[in-house]
Structures are given as C-alpha cells and as structure tokens.
Subunit: 196 residues, 2 copies
C-alpha cells in the first residue's frame, strides 16, 4: 500500500492542531474566557452556512467555508494581530505569506497550491466568496462584544468611529447584514457600552 | 427593515457558542489538555476537505462539512458520551433528538428542518456523505491517542479488539483510510501503547 500522499496530509492534520492554542483578544459570548482560533474558525464556518442567503452576490458556499476554516492557520507561525492594533498591520504581511507556504506546504503540492490560493483570495477580499467570508469574520466579534458589555471595545478603549470603519467590511458582503450590524453598533452607543 | 429571519439566525449563532465548553475525553495532539467540541468539529471539517479524495464513493463535500460542523451540537443539551462508554448508548438517543429539535429549532423553520435532516443523516450513517463524515470522527481521536502514548486507550483501559471494532467505521467511508488506520492500530500494539 502506498501511503505517501496520505502521510503528508496526516502531517498537516497534526500540525494544524496548534491553532487550538492561539488565543484571540475577543472573548466567548457572555464570558471572560478568550476564544481560540479553532473555536473562532468553527463558528465562522457555521455562521456562513446559516447566513449564506444574505450574501449580496451568488457564492460558492463550499469555498467560503474552506476560507473560514483555514483563514487563521498562518497564525500558527505569525501570531494573532488584534483588529484594532494601531502598530502592527492587520493585512497580508510577509510573515503570514511565509507561514502559509510552510504550513500548507506540508500537503501534497497540488493541494498546497490550492489552499494557498484560497487563503490569498480571502486575504485580498476581492471576490464574492472572500467578501462574504470577511463579513463573517467581522460579525462574530461584534456579537461577542455586544454580549460582553462592550468587551474589547471597553478593554482597549476603541471608539465608535473606529468600530464603524472596521466593521464596514460587512457591507461588502451583505447590505442586509450591514444594516443589522450598523443598528447594533448604534445601539451599543445608546447602551453605554461603546463611546463616541 | 425586516430582521425577523436574521434575528432567529443570530439567536442560533449565539446559542451554539456553548459547544466551546463541552469537553471531550480525548486530548489535543501531544497534550494533556482535553479537546472541546468546537475544536473537534473544526478539525474534522478541515480533515474532510483535505482527505476527500480518499472517499470510496463520490461525495457532496459541502454536505459532509455541514454534518461535521453541526454533528455535536446536540451535546449542548445531551452531553458528550464517550465512544467506549459501556453503559450509555452512543447512538441516536431520545435526548439527542430532543436537543436537535430545540437547538436547530431556534432557526427559521425551513432551515431548522434542513439541518435536522443533515444531522439525522449523519447519525444514521447510511449515505456516502455520512459514511465519510463518520470516518473523520473516528480518525481524529485515533491520531490523537497515537500522539499521546495511547491516550484514552490507556486512561480507560480500552483493548485492541474494542478499538478495532469501533474504528472499523472508517472502512465504510474509505478503504484506503482504513488500511492506514488499521496499520496504526497494529503499530500501537507493537509500540506498547495499546493492549491486546
């Protein structure tokens, strides 16, 4: 029996377990326990399935789910950068590209190329699928912060205008979800959990 | 703006966060930290994507991924039953069905019906998609136990014949993966981390 191809896939499956140790700044719903990247990725993938009807454009849902399941794997090498970090750049850095090449590179070559391309498409945010996937990535922490009396907005003194700017990514994927998100953000000011 | 449909979906998205607190018996790779159901579901979904070529039958990969992302949600109400538990029945119990109806029932009716059907299909294990999904569910803890010097096999005194019986589910989804899994199980006896 030839397990050569499979053995590479198993090495990858083993390696990605490390994402379970990468802590995000955002906390679970109604909780002070930080979320890790595996939990976050699971939640986004299932959100995409449940919310797909709200995408403004027709989307290949399997591709969206793939994007969301793998989008944070580069953080195994490159670490998590907080969305509101004012120093580090939360975009496609050299370190993340090197991480993508190393981690996906554990897979058989064709499969590695395919997943690197999916990851790059997510990062670029230009296709319908990546726009919807990125909307999910902005939506979850908004809901979490709402449930945690402001959560990271309070903890890191993030103001309304900055939240609106970062969350407006949701609009590129879904006008309907953006209308809802915008209403939640405005409500957060009224509730006193987000400062103008 | 009418957010009625969306509001139900958001309630569901909020509710399923609870799966992040449900601890499995199996531990992370090379670790003594128990895995939770969200991490487990994330890992299985990505395993299905990476290993799909090994399915014996043609599969709808999106459906497989959906199954794996939702398969443990019923444990929010019904709790985790250890695979090798000799008292509790690790099959579709009344408690699990009631849990499925309550949790998926938070969604708009058509969507709830769809996901309950997907969950039931997984539990029944009769279609190509459910067979492959169930193979993933057996494969991950096998790899984890291998990495943890026997892990739950040692901890709960589970013997070779029982492991072989439970893991043979993998064969229904993929002969190739089963050949690999069987070799790992046999190797575990040779390595002294699984008793005959």
């Amino acid at each position: 029996m030839n397990f050569e191809q499979l053995q590479k896939q198993i090495v990858f499956i083993h390696e990605i377990d490390k994402i379970k140790y990468i802590q995000r700044k955002t906390r679970l719903f109604n909780s002070d326990r930080a979320e890790n990247d595996a939990e976050h990725s699971w939640h986004l993938a299932l959100m995409a399935i449940v919310l797909s009807e709200h995408s403004d454009q027709k989307i290949d849902l399997l591709k969206v789910v793939k994007m969301l399941l793998i989008h944070d794997l580069v953080e195994i090498d490159a670490g998590d950068v907080f969305l509101y970090d004012t120093v580090a750049n939360h975009t496609n850095t050299e370190a993340e590209l090197a991480a993508a090449r190393r981690i996906f590179g554990l897979l058989p070559a064709a499969q590695a190329d395919d997943l690197i391309a999916v990851w790059e498409e997510f990062e670029a945010g230009e296709t319908a699928e990546s726009k919807f996937a990125r909307a999910m990535d902005r939506m979850e922490p908004l809901l979490q912060n709402r449930s945690n009396s402001g959560g990271t907005w309070q903890e890191f003194n993030v103001k309304y205008d900055k939240v609106l700017e970062k969350k407006s990514v949701i609009r590129e994927g879904s006008q309907h979800l953006w209308n809802y998100a915008k209403a939640l953000i405005d409500q957060s000011v009224e509730d006193g959990i987000l400062q103008k």
